[in-house]
């Protein structure tokens, strides 16, 4: 069981990383958006493997929408969305590579030297988890949840206000 879990995790993890790399290596913007989507989906699959059904399915669902929106914005804003003329869209490559590499290495060092202990406790069933999560959200953490909702609302309004076309006084 544990071995199967580990294998699945490794598989989906590899997929997630590979798609994540593809995001920044392909020239076609729609491709990179969809690659990001599949990377996120692989992460959702890892959630499922880790028996967090609700979160996994939620991740898979949300990312499908988000990344499709991302794709259309790419097509709207990029000068070469199809990536036909292979133009380079990057700068300060060396610095970025160093930063990413250092971040990766540091995180790996911390992870592998931390020495997590212990037998893995097992989790309640999916329906029980959903019930517990609901109780948590509408019980103890209700305030945090509500404030998150308020944050989203504010962001929606703000984004709309920013994005709306400036119109003349007499136009309305």
């Amino acid at each position: 069981m544990s071995l199967a879990t580990a294998l699945f995790l490794a598989f989906f993890g590899t997929a997630a990383i590979w798609f994540g790399v593809v995001v920044f290596r392909t020239h076609s913007m729609v491709r990179s958006a969809i690659a990001l989507l599949f990377s996120q989906t692989a992460i959702g699959a890892m959630f499922l493997v880790m028996q967090a059904e609700f979160l996994g399915v939620l991740q898979i669902m949300m990312m499908a929408t988000e990344m499709s929106v991302m794709a259309i914005f790419m097509v709207m804003f990029m000068m070469d969305p199809g990536g036909m003329g292979k133009m380079d869209m990057t700068h300060q490559k060396r610095l970025s590579l160093w930063a990413g590499g250092i971040g990766l290495v540091a995180a790996l060092v911390v992870i592998w030297t931390a020495g997590w202990q212990g037998p893995v406790p097992d989790v309640p069933g999916a329906d029980e988890q959903a019930r517990l999560l609901g109780r948590e959200l509408l019980g103890r953490s209700m305030f945090i949840f509500e404030s998150a909702a308020l944050m989203i609302l504010t962001a929606m309004i703000a984004a709309t206000m920013v994005a709306i076309a400036p119109q003349e006084k007499d136009s309305q």
């Binding site: 729609v30 491709r31 059904e53 069933g125």
Partner: protein, 299 residues
């Protein structure tokens, strides 16, 4: 075993829906027409557009088919006759249906054709319109069933079907479902008149066959989702469960298909306006009402 049964039932359902669609669109009821047209498609030459995004071009229809099949996987056809009875089946259904959008965008972008691409992006706009309307009614349904499992949802309607318990949600869900399956009058991605087939424009042969098949699967999936959430699933007097399932699925599908061609096509802007200004308000009111009823009168 049950998987084989369900696949068989799905195949039959798709064929029946194809017959119904032919009847609704062309007005001729012929039982052999889908088979012949499928054979014709398979026999036809398979054109590959120039400078196409080959990966998307091939993957789009397949992903569409996969999405449809996944969404069918959580529909209980009869007690115990279900592929996987997830504890969060309703949410899973949403997730699977979300990939219809991805598949259509890929299929529209792939062949490097204007009509296809416009069709794909139009479906994105359509999605933004119907997304909330397909999630919020399901929320109300799950509130009544106190569970996200489709089986529990069906069982919770033993006393009173949800179509009577929350009619607002039912109407909204059906409209949203027609949006998901891009049935007329909301068939923007393949808008027959103005886009020359839209997403399907560049597809020929076997690929087009897969695309159409996937579309049929999605119609069946949405019809079955409708009766699972609102029409009491397999529950019903006299007949056995599977018979009720078949009847309700075909009934809902027939209703959706017959309704469409008699209405003028809806622009995505109009659809967006309606569903956000009116639909979401009604959906919220629906959730509120269902909560109040569930608290006050236990049915």
């Amino acid at each position: 075993m049950s998987i084989a049964v369900i696949i068989l039932a799905l195949a039959i359902g798709c064929y029946a829906v194809a017959v119904l669609e032919g009847w609704a669109v062309h007005g001729r009821l012929s039982l052999t027409r889908p088979a012949t047209s499928a054979l014709a498609l398979l026999g036809r030459e398979q054109i590959l557009p120039r400078t196409s995004d080959r990966l998307f071009f091939e993957a789009g229809p397949v992903l569409l088919l996969v999405a449809g099949l996944l969404s069918v996987a959580v529909i209980p056809l009869a007690p115990g006759l279900i592929i996987t009875d997830l504890a969060i089946g309703a949410l899973f259904l949403n997730a699977a249906l979300a990939y219809v959008l991805v598949a259509l965008i890929m299929a529209g972008w792939g062949p490097n054709g204007a009509y296809g691409m416009i069709g794909g992006w139009r479906f994105l706009g359509q999605f933004v319109a119907y997304a909330m309307l397909i999630v919020m009614p399901i929320t109300a349904v799950a509130m009544r069933a106190e569970s996200l499992s489709t089986t529990q949802i069906v069982l919770s309607q033993a006393a009173l079907w949800n179509v009577a318990y929350q009619p607002i949600g039912f109407v909204l869900f059906v409209i949203a479902a027609m949006g998901v399956a891009w049935l007329p009058p909301i068939d923007l991605p393949t808008g027959g008149g103005d886009l020359a087939g839209g997403v399907e424009a560049e597809y020929t042969g076997a690929r087009l066959a897969v695309l159409r098949l996937a579309r049929l699967v999605i119609i069946v999936a949405l019809a079955s989702a409708t009766f699972t959430f609102y029409l009491g699933g397999w529950l019903g007097p006299w007949l056995p469960g599977w018979a009720w399932t078949a009847l309700k699925t075909l009934g809902v599908a027939a209703a959706m298909l017959m309704l469409g061609p008699r209405l003028p096509r809806l622009r995505e802007a109009k659809y967006l306006e309606l569903s956000w200004k009116l639909g979401i308000t009604l959906a919220l009111a629906n959730i509120f009402l269902v909560g109040v009823i569930a608290l006050v009168v236990p049915i």
